[in-house]
């Protein structure tokens, strides 16, 4: 279709036809590959009927000519050779030089090398993270000196974004936790005739541990990712550089308000989760165990002390700062590419959740030692 083959005496005559364009390159190559070239027989190429020849087409033709010459055939054109071939020759010379100039990087792929590389990277990452924490702390302390530098409007925005808009989902989760605890414990305790302890379990479980923990995990997923994505795309867009160049400290206007906003929002959300959790517990006890509301309230009063509530709430700002730091730190690390942004947002959320759970475990040990 793209080439007609004829034999005139001792020479192979090829007549190129149709449009030799990149989009048909597969067919062109197959047509050329199908041509049989007896070794040493001269080849003559006619281009009178060729309607179009682009660079890709010319490249395929040149590959064919190279094959023919490799087989000892002499290749000539019936008329003038197409311009595109000359252009290709000029380019090819430099392209070959380009490939040769690329030095191969030494690749260590062994298990040991991989462990070493990750250890070094993790070490550097920890040092950088601590540096970030230090700079954020210093900026925060400095911004305490004046109301203007505290960026209260910005803080309020983050309280709204991270806190108020999360109320429905946090409330729902709070309710579901109490459902889970109540059902699970009711089943076990009923056999012992100790139904009343369901109240203890719900109240202590929600207030002390699960309310704050699950709220933090939700917030890590919502706000941790939002912080990382927002700061990361600002980095990609050079907005962070623009701030620095204007003489504005990005930590002061971007990082500290987010940390402060989250540190205010998360305790408030925890209170919401606690309240809804207790209300859910009361509801379930009413219908699952036929326990009147007054008895539930009385039992809650007996089972918990104020410190149960405060122990839970105290953890909230700590978790908030951990989540905020992970989000902001990873966001500020983004550079160069959209893929990097996606990777670091993922890292931010996973690390935020990890640190929250780790800190919760440390708190559990600490409070136990303190007998609270």
């Amino acid at each position: 279709m793209f080439v007609e083959v004829g034999h005139a005496g001792a020479q192979v005559e090829l007549e190129l036809t149709g449009e030799w364009r990149a989009l048909q390159i597969g067919e062109i190559e197959r047509a050329l590959a199908a041509i049989e070239l007896p070794a040493g027989k001269p080849v003559r190429i006619g281009t009178q009927h060729l309607r179009a020849l682009d660079l890709t087409g010319a490249w395929a033709l040149r590959e064919f000519m190279r094959r023919a010459r490799g087989g000892g055939s002499e290749v000539t054109f019936a008329g003038a050779p197409p311009d595109q071939l000359r252009l290709l020759d000029e380019l090819q010379a430099s392209a070959a030089a380009a490939l040769a100039g690329q030095p191969a990087l030494p690749e260590h792929t062994g298990l040991l090398a991989s462990i070493g590389r990750h250890a070094v990277r993790a070490g550097a990452d920890t040092v950088d993270g601590l540096g970030f924490l230090g700079r954020a702390s210093i900026t925060f302390l400095r911004s305490l000196t004046s109301l203007r530098r505290l960026r209260l409007i910005s803080v309020a925005r983050h309280v709204y974004d991270a806190g108020l808009t999360a109320v429905p989902i946090v409330a729902l989760i709070g309710f579901l936790i109490s459902v889970i605890i109540a059902y699970m414990s009711a089943q076990q305790l009923r056999g012992l005739g100790a139904d009343i302890y369901v109240v203890d379990l719900v109240a202590i479980g929600v207030l002390r541990e699960l309310g704050v923990l699950l709220t933090s995990i939700i917030v890590a997923g919502r706000s941790g990712s939002a912080f990382a994505a927002e700061l990361g795309s600002m980095k990609l867009n050079e907005e962070v550089d623009a701030l620095t160049a204007t003489g504005v400290d990005p930590f002061e206007v971007l990082v500290v308000p987010r940390l402060l906003g989250l540190a205010i929002a998360l305790p408030l959300l925890t209170i919401v989760a606690d309240l809804v959790g207790l209300a859910g517990g009361a509801l379930l006890c009413r219908y699952l165990l036929d326990m009147p509301l007054t008895q539930f309230v009385g039992r809650v009063n007996y089972a918990i002390s104020p410190s149960t509530f405060w122990v839970g709430l105290l953890k909230a700002p700590v978790f908030a700062v951990l989540i905020g730091l992970c989000g902001c730190y990873r966001g500020m690390l983004v550079r160069d590419s959209a893929r990097e942004l996606g990777r670091l947002v993922t890292v931010a959320v996973v690390q935020a959740i990890f640190f929250v759970i780790l800190a919760d475990a440390l708190f559990a040990v600490l409070f136990m030692q303190m007998d609270i």
Partner: protein
């Protein structure tokens, strides 16, 4: 012979804002057509409409004779393989090297082996005058001028006969911009390209374009470059005969 790109009675409206109101445009084969207009006059919207990135409220956009506003996405795909586009900011895929960026359209549309793609992509990179080591670099490692060239190499990946350039020289220093103009001319002549470009750069217009379309009052006034400069519309007069243009115009007429 029908025009390669033809726009008739184009109407684009965003809410209450009327951007184009009966805009006509014609680009013939082998033209280098410059689209000019004040900021906010709808140059980019026009280009996006021609590229099929947004549908107009009314009007016809023909590329190679067929109306793209009536096409299904599958039909549009085959049209899109026939032209190349270089966006204003380059729009290179940041996670891919320059070589991979150039290869991406080839992988989508061409029937080639990986080794052949490597070779052809390197050819295109050389064609736009990028240095040898640029192939393995990521877009973030390139200078502004190199990004523009890499974007052009990607636009040329499928050897299109029609090329759209959005602000090809914006953000470049005058020397790099002049070099880019020469590159565009070189490619236009050697590859027999038809080029449609949006530009503000008077030097680029006088060096590369043979026809110019000016968007004024939501329509387009287009003519050959020598004649459009004498168009009576006040904005066109201000554009071609303003303080910045005068020196250039004197030079062009003198030459």
């Amino acid at each position: 012979m029908y025009p390669l790109v033809e726009v008739q009675g184009l109407v684009n409206r965003f809410g209450r804002q009327l951007v184009h109101d009966g805009l006509d445009m014609q680009v013939s084969k082998d033209d280098v057509f410059g689209i000019v207009g004040s900021s906010g006059s709808g140059k980019s919207v026009l280009l996006r409409t021609i590229l099929g990135l947004q549908r107009p409220q009314a009007g016809v956009v023909r590329i190679g004779g067929s109306d793209i506003t009536q096409m299904t996405p599958a039909q549009l795909r085959s049209v899109k393989a026939r032209y190349g586009v270089s966006f204003q900011q380059g729009a290179l895929y940041s996670a891919l090297t320059v070589l991979q960026n150039v290869q991406l359209p080839m992988i989508e549309h061409l029937d080639l082996t990986a080794a052949e793609r490597d070779e052809l992509a390197l050819l295109k990179i050389r064609l736009v005058g990028l240095p040898a080591d640029a192939a393995g670099k990521y877009p973030a490692q390139l200078s502004g001028g190199m990004v523009k060239r890499a974007a052009l190499a990607r636009a040329l990946a499928l050897d299109p006969s029609l090329l759209f350039l959005d602000e090809p020289t914006s953000g470049l220093d005058p020397v790099s911009a002049a070099a880019f103009d020469e590159l565009v001319l070189y490619l236009q002549q050697h590859l027999r390209l038809t080029i449609v470009m949006i530009t503000h750069d008077l030097d680029t217009i006088f060096r590369t374009c043979n026809r110019v379309g000016v968007i004024v009052d939501r329509r387009m006034e287009s003519d050959a470059l020598e004649r459009i400069v004498d168009h009576p519309n006040p904005w066109i007069q201000a554009y071609f005969h303003g303080e910045r243009a005068r020196a250039r115009l004197a030079g062009a007429h003198g030459a």
